[in-house]
Symmetry: C2
């Protein structure tokens, strides 16, 4: 049985994502698709435009068979932990045979080569010295890192390494190597460089462009499948944007005088936050205010999200100590998924559950600590939705599973 794993945010699910699912089924002949989905808060440090159960349902409607929630600590981490934490779930399911991931360009072999090369270099003294040398010449950390890799492994291309769309792919493959997983990586260059899609090019738009259009009230129907259209244009489905979280973030920022304990922060950034917090107006504007050449926007956004959700360095330490062995929190499944879940009862190495009640019975103490963050994140997302749309919503404890 060929089971293909996908790591995704689906924020929101659009035609490009559907193309990937169809490619898995039609080109790679997948019997089933398992998705590890980021929850209500995402890797670039932003809240999702729609809450995770809605996005999970849309994924199933678009062809996914089983959708698990990525723990929030993983979902809001930078690329390395994000990849390790998500691939761990696919690996520990015990049924996934293949990984499919989107990229800018490059073959499966390109990714394997790059991943192996970086695994060799990472942590060595020469590597960090070379990075520092390039940084002293004015390159950003990401640029300096790509240049260093190419300098030490001349067989790799800088253009390939430095494309942001390839970075996550390389990290996924490194994660497979880390877990000594039998899962086979499959790179899918983004639409435009691809044949085989039933859609025309003008049906594709990036998730960030779609969110931008949504925030302005523009029509995005051309770029999303029925499953998402149904959600977005149903008057009762709430949509949130980062500024909806401004007040709660502002409160967190005045409640403490040091933020260095929060994940991705450090003493300098903590001081900067403290210095500027009296000028806080909104989530977006504050992130822009803190941005500088040395401090990129996605890192700031991640830090602000970690402050909002109270995710500290301790959480990352826990994640490392448990080698990413978290849990399989089921969000949605298809009929075919039901069969697969039955199989996983035998194969899965991690606790699998649907409700918080079940979680409390099955999770170890350390796993529960990670899951508490998911519950807090869900509560915050729910409160902000309630405040914006003036309706009480079910909590994680009272929600009915569909």
């Amino acid at each position: 049985m060929k089971v293909i794993g996908i790591v995704a945010e689906y924020n929101p699910l659009h035609n490009g994502h559907v193309y990937q699912i169809e490619y898995a089924k039609n080109e790679l002949n997948a019997d089933a698709i398992v998705v590890v989905l980021a929850g209500d808060f995402l890797q670039r440090g932003l809240p999702a435009v729609m809450e995770r159960t809605l996005r999970a349902k849309a994924a199933v409607d678009a062809g996914a068979d089983v959708v698990f929630e990525m723990p929030t600590v993983v979902a809001t981490s930078s690329a390395n932990d994000y990849a390790l934490g998500s691939i761990a779930l696919l690996h520990h399911c015990g049924v996934v045979t293949d990984l499919l991931f989107g990229c800018e360009n490059g073959s499966d072999d390109d990714f394997l080569r790059a991943a192996k090369a970086i695994e060799e270099l990472e942590g060595t003294e020469t590597f960090s010295d070379t990075i520092n040398l390039f940084k002293s010449q004015g390159y950003s950390f990401a640029e300096a890192r790509a240049k260093s890799i190419c300098k030490m492994k001349p067989e790799l291309s800088e253009a390939f390494l430095s494309s942001p769309n390839n970075t996550l792919g390389i990290e996924y493959v490194r994660a497979l190597l880390h877990f000594k997983s039998d899962i086979k990586p499959n790179a899918l260059p983004r639409v435009g460089a691809q044949h085989g899609s039933s859609r025309t090019l003008d049906q594709y738009a990036s998730a960030s462009l779609i969110r931008d259009m949504l925030s302005k009230g523009d029509d995005v129907a051309a770029f999303v499948p029925e499953a998402t259209k149904h959600l977005l244009y149903d008057v009762t489905s709430p949509m949130l944007f980062p500024d909806d979280f401004s007040l709660l973030l502002h409160q967190r920022l005045i409640e403490e005088d040091s933020f260095k304990r929060y994940l991705d922060c450090n003493n300098d950034i903590s001081n900067k936050i403290r210095k500027y917090r009296d000028a806080f107006v909104s989530y977006d504007k504050f992130a822009q205010l803190l941005k500088s050449k040395d401090l990129e926007l996605s890192r700031i956004q991640r830090i602000l999200t970690h402050i909002l959700l109270q995710i500290s360095d301790n959480h990352r330490n826990l994640l490392h100590r448990m080698d990413y062995e978290t849990y399989l929190h089921l969000l949605a499944f298809s009929n075919q998924g039901k069969v697969l879940l039955k199989e996983m009862k035998k194969t899965a190495y991690l606790p699998l559950f649907q409700s918080p009640k079940e979680a409390m019975e099955k999770l170890s103490q350390v796993q529960q600590k990670m899951f508490q963050v998911d519950l807090r994140a869900a509560d915050i997302y729910r409160m902000v939705t309630t405040n914006k749309y003036h309706q009480a919503l079910p909590t994680e404890y009272t929600r009915k599973f569909q």
Copy 2:
């Protein structure tokens, strides 16, 4: 020198308040007027419609000479502590000769007689037994209390005692007795029962009616003096209503599982809050949801405000232990007020200050604990204003005194 003290909320300052100030000047021949003003959160457990420095300035524009801020713990307490805490400030100024307060009806002597009678009864076993007897017959606590007083002191009238507009007046006079103060109480029956006003009856509306009109965008110009008109109809002046605080309150409600430590709460109410909190939609709706025959709205609102501002039973205990000897936080003054403040430098028994920096130098540790609540309340009010009006506002530390 005749200095008249007034305890007020001015939420907002309206023609009835101006009438009271003019009465002090023209009928009682006041040389100066000292106002003790409730800050950003008020006695009925609601946030003020405009922040305290704006309301203080309006008071000076309308004829007040010195305006002090009531500590937040006092301003959000029920009638007894509210009166003791505010009268303490007037008493400890050392310059106030007279107290002027509004009431429904009755003479100065009526208030003195009632205050003395209640002082005698309060705390005795017979009194609480009688109250319980009336409560068992289905009367509310306030009703049972009034009935008990009249039963044991037949010379007092139940109609006089049970009018909510008289209750605070009685508490003010009791507070004067408590402090053995030389300040002379003056009761001013509300306009309508009064002569001597330069305005016609249709220029008077209650503060709550005015707030209600403001929340609907109705024109209130006829009921407020120039000072308030200027504020309300200046596009840059922000107005807040209780529901603007919904999100922050909601967050407080999910962060803890017991609320019984908060001032005015108890175990039963804490359980009720916990039971209903998943149905939270907004501040107003949640207060309505909790309301019952035994639990009146103003108490619920006070509890919710205490949860929002983190005011606990400990704060009341501190207040009692220090016998209400808090501080004189100056908010605004007139030219005449400047002269009075100079005099107070010699007479005032409590630390007098303008800025938080000065407060930290002058306040005792216990007083600082009370003042920290004021700073927190100001921060919360400011954050909510920033969130609603998308502008950064000065903090208590960066605000310029006008």
